[in-house]
């Protein structure tokens, strides 16, 4: 009988990612909870020796995507229509609330890309595995996410971003 891997040590990172992804404490922990349940149910499918963390993030991604499918589409259309002027960057002074607001307004697939690479420090190949897409797709989502964030964060004060959202 093979030993069961310990999921506890992965909880802090799963929670960090879920928090950033959903922008909501309760919803994030629900997502982590669902991920753990799914993981325990499917533990036989995990290959010992392979990256448990990447596998858990993959499960979380799949659950997140399924949740989105069953929800009403959010304000994507409005988001796409926004044309925020680009000005010189005072990026260094970014406040946390600006980041929260900007993240919330990224399309989900771009949000996932920037969080997996920029926050969770997955390699491009690992992020591609988690998201189930080719590396080139990760790169293009990441590029769009970063440029979009740059425009949002350079152009408008956070207060207005929040109003729009």
């Amino acid at each position: 009988m093979r030993s069961r891997p310990d999921l506890i040590e992965h909880l802090p990172r799963l929670r960090r990612y879920a928090r950033a992804l959903t922008g909501d404490v309760a919803r994030a922990d629900d997502l982590v909870q669902d991920t753990l349940e799914r993981a325990l149910a499917k533990l036989d499918l995990w290959q010992p020796g392979s990256d448990l963390r990447a596998w858990l993030f993959t499960l979380m991604h799949n659950l997140f995507v399924n949740q989105l499918r069953t929800r009403r589409p959010q304000d994507t259309a409005l988001d796409e229509a926004l044309d925020i002027p680009v000005s010189g960057g005072q990026m260094e002074a970014l406040a946390a609330r600006d980041i929260h607001a900007a993240l919330a307004r990224l399309p989900e697939e771009q949000r996932e890309a920037i969080l997996l690479v920029g926050l969770e420090q997955f390699s491009y190949a690992e992020a591609a595995q988690v998201l189930g897409v080719p590396v080139g797709t990760v790169m293009s989502r990441l590029a769009r996410a970063r440029e979009r964030m740059r425009q949002m964060l350079a152009g408008e004060p956070a207060v207005q971003l929040k109003v729009v959202k």
Binding site: P12, L36, I99, G118, Q121, R146
Partner: protein, 257 residues
């Protein structure tokens, strides 16, 4: 310039994903293309802002429901789950344990070693933000953590063993704050020293060793403070580092293994 620099190269530069030769080429390109340089700076600032906004989640005590969910066995023995939950509440730092023997709660010093091992497992894989304060501000780091922990800390010097101080961070704990110092060698291997006030009634322990989920931990309690050195490296190397830490921090040679 051999290959023209493309958008992907700029991202890979920010993400530290370029081979050294290419990295230098991109750096030269950026020096000559201020608009690209500004974009690269902005992207890097986004990553920093993401960490500033969300890294605190790593330090939060884990919700009990999640600990339960992570520990749930495929079937039966609910009393173990309950015992694990109680141990979770009782234990110190981030308040959770690995490899918990639920029906037989570990004595406090073992809790301590386990908490240290978890803190090691959580933070040592961080590639770009393993520490809150880096070692270039070592004096500030030590005095800041000393003040928060409530005793004069000392970051041991492992230079002779090939490990340099990378920096440190303050962790939130239910029984008070915890200091974590991180060291790294030339091969990128990391060890962490974890210091917190000991639970009452555990004034002193000898120099001890434990293995927690593949993490080697050498720990001891000295004058109300617990110290644990954790690493996922060969036990013999850990032993040398542990001996050095114990000698430097207590002034005594490590007697036990």
């Amino acid at each position: 310039m051999t290959n023209p620099v493309r958008e992907d190269d700029l991202h890979a530069y920010v993400d530290g994903a370029l081979p050294e030769a290419r990295r230098l080429e991109v750096e030269a390109w950026l020096a000559a293309h201020p608009e690209d340089a500004a974009r690269v700076r902005a992207w890097a600032a986004q990553d920093q802002a993401l960490h500033a906004a969300f890294d605190a989640v790593l330090n939060e005590p884990l919700p009990i429901d999640l600990v339960r969910a992570a520990r749930r066995k495929p079937a039966r023995m609910p009393y173990k789950v309950v015992a694990a939950a109680l141990a979770f509440v009782a234990s110190g730092l981030v308040g959770y344990g690995i490899g918990l023997r639920a029906d037989q709660p570990a004595p406090a010093p073992l809790h301590f070693a386990r908490d240290a091992a978890i803190a090691h497992a959580v933070f040592s894989p961080e590639v770009r933000h393993p520490v809150e304060v880096d070692a270039t501000h070592a004096a500030h780091l030590v005095s800041w953590l000393s003040k928060r922990i409530g005793t004069q800390l000392k970051a041991p010097d492992f230079g002779a063993l090939g490990f340099e101080l990378l920096g440190g961070r303050l962790l939130a704990g239910e029984s008070g704050p915890v200091a974590q110092f991180m060291y790294q060698d030339a091969g990128g291997r990391r060890v962490t020293l974890y210091v917190r006030r000991a639970v009452a009634g555990n004034r002193e322990t000898a120099f001890r060793h434990a293995t927690e989920n593949g993490v080697e931990v050498f720990y001891w309690i000295d004058h109300d403070f617990g110290y644990a050195l954790s690493g996922q490296i060969a036990r013999a190397d850990m032993q040398r580092l542990g001996d050095a830490a114990y000698l430097q921090l207590t002034g005594k040679a490590a007697a036990a293994n």
